[in-house]
Symmetry: C2
Subunit: 342 residues, 2 copies
DNA sequence: CTGCGAATTGGCAGCGCTGTCAATTGCGAA
DNA sequence: TTCGCAATTGACAGCGCTGCCAATTCGCAG
């Protein structure tokens, strides 16, 4: 049978408690004792039983990632998971995935429910959960630890943030510098903070370029490929269509490109397209997509690290601002000579 | 404080053990008693403590998914995770992600290690782990339960399989029917069963079409975008280049398309391209990619279901063959008139 | 040497649940 | 009504670990 802490204690000639101290890196263990214990543990191939540890210590050593179920499978989430896993691994924590329905009647209840059932020591929230003030407030009330990954920082104390507004502004700067004047935006879905910030940045950019905001050049979209197609249809049907389209994320940007190609437009000669996120797909499409890189993997890792710090001692852990980067690739080019098309 | 089983027992006027029976759906509980317990539990908002349950029951209620670390983040894995999560959810199991290095010195040891540490009740293996006879043998030796997701079925008893060889054959049939005679293959990476099966299917297809196998039209690739580019370069540099390229998966197919476009080739007019997997990206590129759909999400779900069945009682659980589907999209078309290009 | 505070180590109850087995109850046949 | 067997329920000892606190040892000043 598998070795227990008692066996290790006996073999090392110490008490169980001392073995426990060694395995938990607690102070006040003599170096010599520690070595003896470690050797004994090694010899017996001892591994602490996680369930027993959790039960006795009243902690789960579990962190759950809460995200919107329909986005399960998105590259964004996947990268965050990878980063989170790295951090958990090194701290001997486990990660648990909690795809929940944000749109469901009461997402606050579903998060509470998830906590009650699995008892994670902490949560990592991504948009739209991370942007939901009511949820964060309730979690504070419950005394739950959590970290957020989001552009918004107002309500957050621990996690990562990225200045999406500034990034979106730079996208428009880039397009304006290429001579574009009719720059459209396929906005994100309503409940997402991402929508608001990216849209604000878009307007900032227009302002800086001295371009008047034109309501007809902003269409409601979503974060999906299909939403990009729909948005592009609407924009390219305009009497005076845009020469550049900034989509709220890479998936929808791919949709825009797809629709443009269907209409025989060339990218970037006839139409420039920009995305947001820098997903692997954005590199794989042709022409490769100009986009804003969010370091999702690092964001996942940092959020988890900060969360674990705040679990270790309350008050620790902070909101880490991570850098974005405008990745200029092949889908943007100089604005075409101004002629009414269509 | 949180309600314990004892509180529920007291409130319902039964013993702890009876409450336990109700929560574990054990037989021999009178309907009336069950209702009384359920009502009491509801009133107290009782949730069994997973750690205590695991400790006392000597089970972890945990399933771990073992996959190759470099493929973390691939759409294939992501979809499998989603499916696996669905199955676990409904059986009140937790899923744990174990990205391990397949190429590391001893992947068998790293899997053993992972088992010792986390004590999952079962494992789900995907290629290349699923195809590694030595690993499976060792797991059998250890009495570990596992399910495999793979094309290969020889060593597997529980999990899902898909006839990749037949599917790859159909790809070639499709291309041959379009008049292609010079059909190339960018093969998968060596340790993957996928490589072997897809390559065999490719040869089957050629045979059926009466096309002689030409060594120069098969290049070693990999499952990455970059591998696709490299493979395409090699093939398109040939004196008599292929008119169709069948890549081992969608990512590498995207690489092939990318390189083709860089050379000014039109798809599918000048070159037909086919992938394998039907990842979301394959729909998002332009032209959309003809590929073989693997129902990854269902595969993940089914594998988990079969695994859980075999955990419940040894002997249960089987190898479920899942269907593939050739998705003919826009990246394949009639072979161009035969002229030496370059 | 001796005494004393600090450093180190040990003892043990108990975390919340399930497995085992014993006790009790229910129910149809005699 | 009574008996016997099956169905139902209960009692209780752990599962393997950590928290709490007591015991022991150490190092060094007096």
């Amino acid at each position: 049978m598998r070795a227990r802490i008692e066996d290790v204690a006996e073999k090392a000639g110490v008490s169980m408690k001392t073995v426990s101290r060694v395995f938990n890196h607690e102070p006040n263990v003599r170096e010599k004792t520690r070595l003896r214990v470690e050797r004994a543990a090694q010899a017996l191939n001892y591994r602490p039983n996680p369930s027993a540890r959790s039960l006795a210590g009243n902690r789960s050593y579990l962190v759950s990632l809460v995200y919107d179920d329909p986005f399960a499978g998105s590259a964004y989430i996947m990268e965050i998971i990878v980063g989170m896993l790295q951090a958990c691994e090194s701290m001997r924590y486990s990660a648990m995935l909690r795809p929940l329905e944000f749109s469901s009647a009461d997402h606050v209840a579903s998060v509470e429910n998830s906590i009650a059932q699995y008892r994670p020591d902490g949560l990592i929230l991504v948009p739209p959960f991370a942007d939901d003030a009511k949820l964060l407030h309730r979690l504070d009330e419950l005394g739950a630890r959590y970290a957020t990954i989001s552009a918004k920082s107002k309500d957050a104390r621990v996690g990562t943030s990225l200045d999406e507004r500034k990034a979106a502004g730079e996208v428009v700067d880039h397009l304006a510098a290429l001579g574009h004047r009719r720059i459209a935006h396929v906005a994100g879905p309503a409940p997402h903070g991402g929508r608001v910030w990216r849209l604000s940045g878009y307007r900032d950019g227009l302002r800086r370029a001295g371009i008047a905001y034109d309501d007809s050049l902003v269409v409601d979209g979503g974060f999906s490929f299909e939403a990009g197609i729909a948005g592009a249809k609407q924009l390219l049907d305009l009497d005076d269509p845009p020469t550049a389209i900034f989509a709220a994320n890479d998936d929808s940007a791919c949709g825009v490109m797809h629709e443009a190609f269907e209409r025989g437009l060339r990218i970037p000669q006839d139409l420039s397209v920009v995305g947001f996120d820098d997903t692997p797909t954005s590199r794989q499409v042709w022409p490769s997509l100009t986009t804003v890189r969010q370091p999702c993997r690092e964001m996942g890792r940092i959020a988890a690290e900060q969360l674990l710090a705040s679990i270790r001692d309350a008050g620790a852990g902070s909101l880490v601002r991570v850098p974005y980067e405008l990745m200029v690739r092949q889908s943007t080019g100089p604005a075409p000579a101004r002629t009414k098309r269509r």
